[in-house]
């Protein structure tokens, strides 16, 4: 079984993003870029399935600008067999991304597609679900446990009410949540090895994908700030303050 893994490059999760003063965007110049943390988990899971003999090949897929190559090499260094880089200089929206993945699925015929449940830049949480829909295959989002059993998979999902388990026929799409696994660290020799792994580069324009970029962002603003409150000296003062506000009886 072949596994395709969505592997997006985003602003590192430790960066505190700043909005440009004119409201035209966020400041990304010189900001540290990393793999979307959820996508790292998706890749780790794919590698573990391969290690267990349940998959034969792991292919990482990145949609992004030409300078994503170092990022893609990290995915190969983590252990993916090969990579596909769909080059697009402008940011694309989830529906377009799903349509691009669909083109790749037609070509690659994977048994499983793994993605992070959301990318921590646009926080959209859409691409996986849209892709499963276009593909006409099962989806199991927010996975915290994946058990492959022949032509089926049992997936435990983290939902608001607790843990839900679904059984899906393969091929299927699974998006992963934080507690599925802890991604491995990349070792130096693996970075060297990754240099010789195949990386296929496709121009977005050559895929003849119909754009689904229908949303137009007109303004960026920083969030409303909460003002710093007061420090109380002890429990009695805290209780008195809460009573004054009518928050406790």
């Amino acid at each position: 079984m072949k596994i395709l893994v969505g592997y997006k490059r985003v602003v590192d999760y430790n960066v505190r993003i700043q909005v440009k003063p004119d409201g035209s965007g966020v400041i990304t110049d010189g900001v540290k870029l990393s793999a979307n943390p959820f996508d790292d988990i998706a890749l780790e899971e794919a590698l573990r399935l391969r290690d267990k003999g349940l998959a034969t090949e792991v292919v990482v897929v990145t949609l992004g600008p030409a300078d994503c190559q170092a990022h893609i090499r990290n995915g190969l260094a983590m252990g993916a067999n090969r990579a596909i880089h769909v080059v697009t200089e402008s940011a694309i929206q989830p529906l377009t991304a799903a349509r691009v993945f669909m083109k790749l699925i037609e070509k690659e015929q994977p048994g499983l597609v793994l993605m992070g449940k959301q990318a921590i830049d646009d926080d959209a949480n859409q691409t996986g679900q849209m892709l499963a829909t276009l593909w006409g295959r099962p989806q199991a989002t927010f996975a915290s446990l994946i058990a492959i059993d022949g032509e089926k998979a049992q997936v435990t999902r983290e939902i608001d009410a607790g843990l839900e388990t679904l059984e899906v026929d393969l091929p299927a799409l699974i998006t992963v949540d934080l507690r599925l696994n802890e991604p491995r660290f990349i070792k130096l020799p693996d970075i060297m090895k990754a240099k010789s792994k195949p990386m296929e580069t496709l121009a977005f324009a050559d895929l003849s994908v119909e754009s689904g970029d229908f949303l137009n962002t007109t303004h960026y603003a920083p969030p409303a700030k909460r003002s710093k409150g007061v420090m109380v000296k002890d429990v009695a003062e805290l209780v008195a303050a809460l009573k004054t506000k009518g928050l406790v009886a």
Partner: protein
């Protein structure tokens, strides 16, 4: 004029209050009509609950054996059949809505606006990106159906004093059988629901163990609060993961939020910044949680909590 369809969320025969929050968002559009669609194996009783939400024009009750459990790829084709008569289709930005609504959008061939926190006009709204560190204004095309998830913490639940008509509907869509519900393991709790509670007490890594977390439960029970936790406390195994509050857990807006032994990582603060009053109790006076707290108290939580419980 906007005609809004809202997909109801429910569990064990009970309508989730997220649905009434979506109605508030739809009202902000000055909609011509707001209808609710209930999909279940036996939808009528839930539709009856939804009919009580003020501002609702009509509730569509869609009963089908395949809808016993909400499987996104099963629900989406049914929703799309109904949705074509509407200008907007909303679902809550809960795990239910996040799982489902992009499928609806993809079938309709439209984009989705995730986590609507305010409405500017029928086709323009605001939503957070980068864990809430930036708020963007997004315009959707005026000539296509707007599919959106509603950030429930940003909207009050509409009143429950309505009496909308309930109408049974059926659809002819072929439904897939490739995805099957196996089980739902729910945390058993008589406490208020974390997502809709007016008071929430959360504990962090500083509690140190699952056993020690009992003082959080005890304090919560004293004031009728729901219990939440930081990601660190969940990852350490002190509490089950459905209690996690933050960017990747639950986004909540209680009237009172008490953070105990939580330092206040940006990902946690994202989940609570719409709370009415935030109280922080932490032994580290420099903890970032104090930057957003209305009331801060520095000290040892193992002394403060029992004292607080006895004085409340």
């Amino acid at each position: 004029m906007s005609r809004v369809l809202i997909i109801a969320e429910h569990l064990n025969g009970q309508l989730n209050s997220a649905t009434a929050r979506c109605v508030s968002c739809a009202q902000a559009l000055a909609a011509e009509s707001i209808d609710i669609l209930v999909l279940s194996d036996n939808a009528d009783a839930i539709a009856g609950q939804a009919a009580k939400i003020s501002g609702v024009s009509k509730v569509l009750s869609l009963s089908h054996a395949s809808n016993a459990h909400p499987v996104a790829q099963v629900l989406a084709p049914q929703i799309v059949e109904v949705a074509k008569a509407y200008s907007h289709v909303f679902g809550p930005s809960t795990t239910f809505g996040k799982d489902l609504m992009p499928c609806v959008a993809a079938l309709l061939g439209v984009a989705q606006v995730s986590d609507v926190m305010s409405v500017e006009s029928a086709h323009s709204s605001k939503r957070p990106i980068y864990a809430g560190n930036a708020i963007i204004t997004v315009d959707a095309p005026a000539d296509a159906i707007v599919v959106a998830t509603v950030r429930t913490a940003s909207w009050p639940a509409a009143e429950m004093s309505g009496s909308a008509a309930v109408e049974a509907v059926s659809v002819s869509a072929a439904l897939p059988t490739h995805t099957r519900f196996v089980s739902l393991q729910q945390g058993k709790s008589d406490r208020p629901d974390l997502q809709s509670a007016s008071k929430v007490i959360s504990g962090g890594r500083a509690l140190g163990s699952a056993e020690n977390f009992s003082i959080i439960y005890s304090l919560a029970d004293k004031i009728g609060a729901a219990v939440g936790a930081s990601r660190a406390a969940v990852d350490a195994g002190y509490v089950p993961n459905e209690l996690q509050v933050g960017q990747t857990g639950k986004i909540i807006a209680p009237e009172l939020y008490v953070a105990i032994g939580i330092s206040g990582a940006i990902q946690h603060l994202t989940g609570i910044k719409d709370a009415g009053t935030i109280v922080a109790i932490n032994k580290d006076a420099e903890a970032p949680i104090f930057e957003v707290a209305d009331f801060g108290l520095v000290g040892d939580l193992f002394q403060i909590i029992p004292e607080l419980e006895s004085q409340l």
